[in-house]
Symmetry: C2
Subunit: 267 residues, 2 copies
């Protein structure tokens, strides 16, 4: 049994914590992406711990995650006496920058032009699978993938069409928005609304509390938005919670302006 | 061993005869479609025999084929004393009229607009198969079919796009023009050129000879052209003989103007 939360902050943090398995290294990636993505941005070891620990994550788990992120080339650390500072490597910043537009856009820019690639039944599959790995495609069927913009000059093996969607049947909508994604989206929307009701006025929130709550929101939203295909509205079920969820994310982030890094070691 | 042909006409008829299995009822359908498709058009039994027999087909085979065509509702026959006359039924005329434009067009009208239907993997197949049966579609893959014009409002089960082809890979070209179709087309083109060289000037050909040769050309062309999809040029292999074959068909038919039905019983 969890103890009942004592403060608005504990209640808020608990509400916003992703009910799915939390991977600490992935949370740290979300945190750096949100607060310390620019060259020269650093987070002290103590600030990092104080931001993350309210999620119920132990210092040992943070150390292990940092070790893994260093090993994978995402993060580097510097030590001055007993104090440590962590920062994204160039590689880490590049990976972070890749997804930042999709995570932080308030009005997703759905392309007007689309193209469809079709692979030959059987042996042709692998040419399409390669495209799916290296670019953003929506897999419409085993042998068909929808991509934004005009068809690439690319492959000799794939049939390509410039397309405009006419009729979108339910099975395509279910493929664009699998049930578990819709559930994650609904549950995040619900958490955001409950957190918004708990949040005090701006003056009553410390920079560290702000950092923690932003990290929780961004991390959970990241796990939803990066799975949402940027498809025209017709591809989504009528009750699709995506746009409401996106609006609630930015409504709450706007009430939690990004703190200065220097303020995170001050209190 | 066949005997060597004695006359230009025998040589011409032999050259133009389809080397594939000849179904007599199908040849008779080609003949009526070419010469006697209008309401009221009739072919006497003796004209019919004299047109078809130069292909090496026996009177008994013609009788059997006529019996089958009557049974299937394509043809009706009237008898006056010992003479018989045959004509297309309303059903037969309708079926014949359906394919006449594709057989006789000199410049195929390739649509500018196309649509693509995609069925769900597995269970969705049957909805697409139904469309393929009832309308002209090019089957691009088990679950994808290309049709002329804008997408139909139709099905709730099929994803539909308005499309413009961008890149056409070899496997699609092979699907549009299977090897055996290309071979039939090459072999017909070759036969037409040899026949054109054998043909005397217009005055030297009787109405019955004209009817026989036209029937042979139309029958063989029908078997090729009805299998050729009306797709944009990009879908055909660069050495595709279709356009040359079509040109040769009409070049030869123009030298063999359709005889009046009344002239077929005259000589």
């Amino acid at each position: 049994m969890e103890e009942p939360p004592q403060t608005w902050f504990e209640a808020c943090a608990r509400t916003l914590t992703d009910p799915q398995n939390q991977r600490v290294w992935s949370i740290i990636v979300s945190l750096f992406g949100d607060l310390a993505q620019k060259p020269g941005d650093r987070l002290s070891g103590s600030a990092l711990s104080r931001i993350i620990m309210p999620m119920g994550i132990k210092p040992e788990a943070i150390r292990v995650a940092l070790h893994r992120l260093r090993k994978d080339g995402w993060i580097d650390s510097a030590r001055t006496g007993r104090a440590s500072a962590h920062y994204l490597t160039e590689f880490g910043r590049a990976r972070s920058a890749e997804v930042t537009p999709r995570i932080y856009t308030r009005v997703p820019d759905t392309p007007a032009d689309w193209h469809l690639l079709i692979a030959e039944d059987g042996s042709g599959q692998s040419a399409l699978d390669e495209m799916l790995l290296t670019a953003d495609y929506f897999s419409l069927a085993r042998n068909a993938a929808l991509g934004a913009g005009p068809a690439p000059e690319a492959s000799e093996e794939l049939m390509s069409f410039d397309v405009r969607a006419r009729a979108v049947p339910d099975w395509v909508r279910a493929r664009a928005c699998p049930e578990d994604l819709a559930e994650s989206c609904h549950s995040l929307l619900d958490a955001l609304e409950r957190a918004a009701a708990l949040l005090p006025a701006e003056g009553g929130i410390t920079p560290l509390q702000t950092a923690t709550l932003r990290m929780l929101i961004v991390h959970r939203w990241r796990r939803v938005v990066l799975r949402m295909p940027d498809l025209p509205t017709a591809f989504f079920p009528p009750d699709w919670p995506g746009p409401d969820c996106r609006a609630a994310v930015f409504h709450l982030l706007d009430r939690l302006p990004r703190p200065a890094l220097s303020d995170l070691d001050a209190d």
